[in-house]
């Protein structure tokens, strides 16, 4: 908790070196991911599976309203996202490389931002696959305001990834596996799910562009939890 707080005092200008380090780390994560192709494949199939099951469950005959569309997509994102966080952090754990990573002369906040970036790349890739599938299968008519949908969803996913990455580091660096990560992440991200579904309702049903408190909550969520996770990550990572 020490170094990050002092640096926060001296302004948040990430020096160029950290950006380069983040690039190395993210490149490594994505290379491992492309090599094993496990996470992306597994997670995407899970996403599509959830959309299908929920879609059928909610009655695929009548066209999906945008409200239930967002809800179905959210459930898919949440579950595949948690699996994705667990897997990207498991890479450091299975190969026991975390110690070598911590020995490197890089700041632990950088490790957090790099893991966050890797998780974001993966989960946005999954979202990019699952959303069209949802639209295709159930005729979610996102065409009315695709930009609003994209903005709200991306903002929410960033917040979700910020918390998910931090918790996956905590859970992965101790024996408890299984559903605990999901159990920890879901209640915390409920505001995101609530707000994004409500905003989508407003946008698609009442044709009101997302704004006001809704967007404010999303942005506040992202800012608060990015900062707190970045500060706390170093302390949590300590074996």
């Amino acid at each position: 908790m020490t170094t990050n707080t002092q640096r926060l005092g001296s302004g948040l200008a990430l020096p160029l070196a950290s950006l380069r380090q983040i690039a190395f780390l993210v490149e490594k994560d994505l290379r491992i991911e492309s090599r094993s192709r496990q996470t992306l494949g597994l997670v995407t199939v899970l996403g599509v599976l959830i959309v299908t099951v929920l879609g059928l469950g909610l009655g695929a005959q009548n066209a999906m309203t945008a409200f239930s569309a967002t809800a179905v997509l959210w459930v898919a994102y949440l579950f595949s996202g948690v699996l994705c966080f667990e897997k990207t952090m498991a890479v450091e754990r299975n190969d026991a490389v975390l110690a070598a990573l911590l020995m490197a002369p890089i700041d632990r906040g950088v490790i957090y931002l790099a893991k966050l970036a890797s998780n974001l790349v993966l989960i946005l890739a999954v979202a990019a696959i699952v959303t069209p599938v949802g639209v295709l299968f159930f005729g979610f008519d996102l065409t009315a305001a695709p930009v609003a949908f994209a903005v709200v969803m991306i903002l929410s996913i960033v917040g979700f990834a910020a918390v998910g990455t931090l918790f996956s580091a905590m859970v992965s660096s101790s024996r408890l596996q299984g559903g605990l990560l999901a159990m920890m992440v879901f209640p915390i991200t409920l505001p995101l799910v609530l707000v994004s579904t409500q905003l989508m309702l407003l946008t698609f049903r009442d044709h009101v562009a997302p704004g006001g408190t809704g967007l404010g909550v999303l942005i506040a969520f992202d800012l608060i939890f990015l900062t707190v996770s970045w500060l706390v990550f170093e302390w949590v990572l300590e074996p």
């Binding site: 020490t2 190395f24 780390l25 290379r31 090599r35 110690a99 490197a104 002369p105 300590e238």
Partner: protein
């Protein structure tokens, strides 16, 4: 009981010794979950030294090594590396430490070359690609540099791990039970490599459970028992039987 051969003091090693203490612990204690693992340790290791840390299981030797590597903070007291106090934040101190363990700490899906290049870049070396390939040649792995590390034998994995630990040319090398799980030829080549590195002026701290081997390799042995230093002597006058009795009693 083989008697330890005297250690020829090579020229670079002599230079290293002038640099004074590399590692110093000042009333260092560590307790984990309420149990005292290390109690008030005051150990000093000079540059160029080759020290073996011995002790029974749970005597705290691995914990001590982790604290020296700045990855785990002490509960009380402090450690001084290369002369100034080291905390988890001292990034440039960590640059001068290399770390080997019985876990290879490599990405199994990446190839040996990719692993070394990654760590070289992480350490901010000027020419990471060249440095990585030179380390591969030195450890005789160029032939299989492109294969993913998961297909390597235990001996080759350890060689890549050592290459990773030395890629940034550290002055202090921390080795925690590096011989675990190695076959005879790999053990011999690792012993030779460590001796060679020590002659090249690197300080080596070796945590080992094989007393016989440690006395043969290291110049000085520190035996930990109950978190305290039971024996701290040069290995020339120490006999395995004595140390064994210290460790087990």
């Amino acid at each position: 009981m083989t008697q330890v051969a005297t250690h020829p003091v090579t020229q670079p090693k002599a230079e290293a010794i002038e640099r004074g203490a590399v590692v110093k612990t000042v009333s260092l204690s560590k307790s984990i979950d309420g149990r005292a693992i290390l109690c008030d340790l005051n150990v000093e290791i000079a540059a160029g030294g080759y020290v073996a840390i011995l002790g029974g299981n749970g005597a705290g030797k691995s914990t001590l090594l982790r604290i020296l590597s700045t990855l785990v903070p002490p509960s009380s007291g402090r450690i001084e590396l290369f002369g100034d106090t080291a905390t988890a934040a001292s990034v440039d101190l960590r640059k001068r430490i290399g770390l080997i363990g019985h876990q290879v700490m490599l990405y199994r899906d990446l190839s040996a070359r990719e692993n070394l290049e990654f760590f070289a870049k992480l350490y901010g070396l000027k020419d990471p690609i060249a440095r990585a390939s030179r380390m591969l040649e030195m450890s005789g792995l160029s032939a299989r540099a492109a294969d993913p590390v998961r297909n390597f034998s235990r001996g080759m994995l350890q060689r890549v791990a050592i290459a990773r630990a030395l890629v940034h040319d550290p002055e202090l090398l921390l080795a925690d039970e590096p011989f675990t799980g190695l076959d005879a030829p790999s053990i011999a080549s690792l012993e030779h490599l460590l001796a060679h590195l020590n002659d090249a002026g690197k300080t080596i701290v070796l945590v080992n459970h094989d007393i016989e081997q440690s006395l043969r390799l290291a110049e000085r042995a520190i035996v930990l028992r109950g978190g305290r230093v039971a024996v701290d002597q040069s290995t020339t006058r120490l006999y395995a039987r004595e140390v064994l009795s210290e460790v087990l009693s």
